[in-house]
């Protein structure tokens, strides 16, 4: 266990030791943990609570038909954030010769498509459930 801490400490020190970058790195390191544990997690947990209380009761529960597209959309936003927010435009153009114009609209379209697909599945499941119960 001490070896683990020694290796981690040595690595950081020998690669970035004495560099002014080290402080920034440490902020990003801790920031990532704090942002995930104390912002992202409470946010999606609270969102889920809200979802469970706000959604009407339906024959086929709506909850997962809302969760899945929202999680998909959120995941795409999280992973592809720079393009969607148009961050790093100058470096992108210098590297690729391209702008970041299309990504935001594509993300919106993708999110709408996920919601529509999920809604369609819900409608089909509801119809099937209704038919099954009328037969019974």
């Amino acid at each position: 266990m001490l070896g683990c801490f020694a290796l981690a400490g040595w690595a950081v020190w020998s690669i970035a030791g004495g560099s002014p970058d080290l402080v920034r790195m440490a902020w990003w390191f801790l920031g990532a943990v704090v942002l995930h544990d104390l912002v992202l997690f409470p946010l999606y947990a609270a969102g889920d609570r809200l979802l469970l209380t706000a959604l009407p009761r339906t024959r086929v529960p709506l909850v997962n038909h809302v969760r899945v597209p929202l999680l998909g959309s959120g995941l795409a936003l999280l992973v592809f954030l720079p393009g969607i927010l148009r961050q790093g435009g100058a470096t992108t153009t210098a590297a690729t010769g391209l702008d970041q114009e299309p990504y935001r609209l594509r993300w919106v379209a993708l999110s709408v498509a996920l919601c529509a697909a999920s809604a369609l599945v819900w409608v089909l499941r509801t119809l099937r459930a209704r038919r099954a119960s009328s037969r019974a």
């Binding site: 801490f5 981690a8 040595w10 020998s14 560099s19 990003w28 969760r67 999680l71 393009g83 010769g97």
Partner: protein
């Protein structure tokens, strides 16, 4: 005493956590190993951070081979691609163990240290994911050297991950054995019950809204979704499917190269290189050194030498890759023209004045590989300026950035590097 948080999920528990842990145990070492291999591929003198600044933290250097040509495309593609696809799984794993974060501080110093090592583990994974994703999308908001930060965090991760596996592997195996996967996959929502009492299992959960198989499908689906949006940057045919990534596109819609032989991704545009257009115009000359006297060739003289054609990949450290048909003069033929009949290394310099990638150092295998060439043409047409006109280096299995563009001089040496 404040009331502890109430955890509501009826499916959170050691079995589900272990189901998320198992694929991470298989996948994360692949990401780490391919990352270290990519550092080797950069070569000893060109690796960033510089080798001598890293103390002993370096895999044994060996000469990166030039065969098979797809080697770097594979290792870098796996590193970036798998690293991206594992993001939903990492998030799910963190969700599954998050109650531990809110338990009181440990009194036992060993347990306290173990908790601290988890901060290193989670912190390094998130740091690696965030810096990696930002780098792939050319967003340098973090303000420090990507190479330094990503490499330092990789060692923190390796240390913390090793410790975590050593301490938790028995728990994972035990937890996996506590339930049968086949039974879980056959269990619908209505029959979903919490796992037996355990610190991760909520003592007073809400009724289930998602079965365990549903949660596994959700995470797996998230991985498939990310994969579907990522694989395009590794292929030429399905490139456009990488809808949200810079490398889902090739050239700008209005570009004159659109649809032509030079319509594939550019890394560093001619405009960004800052090279005076006159330098790479009719007055451009290639200088070969290493022999008794420098040999100077213009483009017509190069085109008059025996031409070699090969389909070779350009694979970038940002993970994307492309495969094109290049035509040019073999490096071994250029070495002979330079008066170095038995070259063992080469240094290729660009007309670009500044920047970290204005020169490329080739080892023996890279210099001698029969497909290594100074390319003049691609897909049957002259190179575009953005792809390195008048001439660029193309070497099999060499990281993309080292395939220097706008080449001005090549120095051959009979001594290995």
């Amino acid at each position: 005493m404040s009331r502890p948080l109430r955890w509501r999920s009826p499916i959170r528990g050691p079995w589900l956590t272990s189901m998320f842990a198992l694929p991470l145990l298989a996948g994360l070492p692949v990401v780490a190993l391919t990352g270290l291999l990519d550092r080797l591929a950069y070569g000893r003198e060109q690796a960033i951070p510089a080798a001598d600044a890293v103390g002993g933290l370096q895999l044994p250097w060996w000469d990166w081979p030039a065969d098979p040509a797809w080697l770097f495309r594979l290792t870098e593609g796996l590193h970036v691609g798998l690293g991206t696809v594992l993001v939903p799984l990492v998030l799910a794993k963190l969700w599954s163990v998050i109650p531990k974060l809110f338990t009181g501080p440990e009194r036992n110093p060993v347990a306290l240290l173990e908790r601290l090592s988890l901060v290193l583990l989670v912190g390094s994974i998130l740091f690696l994911v965030v810096t990696g994703l930002l780098n792939v999308q050319y967003d340098y908001v973090f303000g420090f050297s990507f190479y330094d930060g990503h490499y330092a965090a990789a060692w923190v991760f390796l240390a913390a991950f090793t410790l975590h596996v050593v301490t938790k592997l028995p728990t994972m195996v035990r937890s996996l054995r506590s339930r049968r996967l086949r039974t879980e996959l056959a269990t619908p929502l209505a029959a979903t019950r919490p796992e037996p009492p355990h610190p991760l299992v909520a003592p007073d959960p809400d009724p289930p809204t998602m079965s365990r198989r549903g949660a596994i499908a959700l995470v797996g689906g998230g991985m498939v979704f990310v994969a579907a949006l990522t694989v395009g940057q590794f292929t030429d045919r399905f490139r456009a499917t990488a809808l949200l990534l810079p490398r889902g596109r090739t050239t700008a819609p209005g570009s004159t190269e659109r649809g032509g032989p030079n319509d594939f991704p550019v890394n560093r545009t001619f405009a960004a290189s800052g090279i005076d257009p006159a330098v790479v115009g009719d007055g451009w000359r290639l200088t070969l050194t290493g022999g008794a006297a420098p040999v100077v060739l213009d483009r017509a003289a190069l085109a008059a030498l025996p031409q070699h054609t090969a389909r070779l990949p350009i694979a970038c450290v940002e993970g994307w890759s492309t495969s094109q048909e290049w035509t040019g003069v073999r490096l071994t033929d250029l070495a002979r023209a330079a008066g170095v009949p038995a070259p063992a290394s080469a240094e290729v310099r660009s007309a670009e004045a500044a920047g970290p990638f204005t020169r490329s150092l080739l080892n023996r295998a890279q210099t001698l590989a029969p497909d290594s060439m100074l390319a003049l043409r691609v897909n049957g047409a002259d190179l575009s300026r953005d792809h390195g006109f008048p001439a660029r280096l193309v070497v099999p299995a060499l990281p993309g950035v080292h395939n220097t563009k706008w080449v001005a001089t090549i120095g051959f040496s009979g001594a290995p590097r």
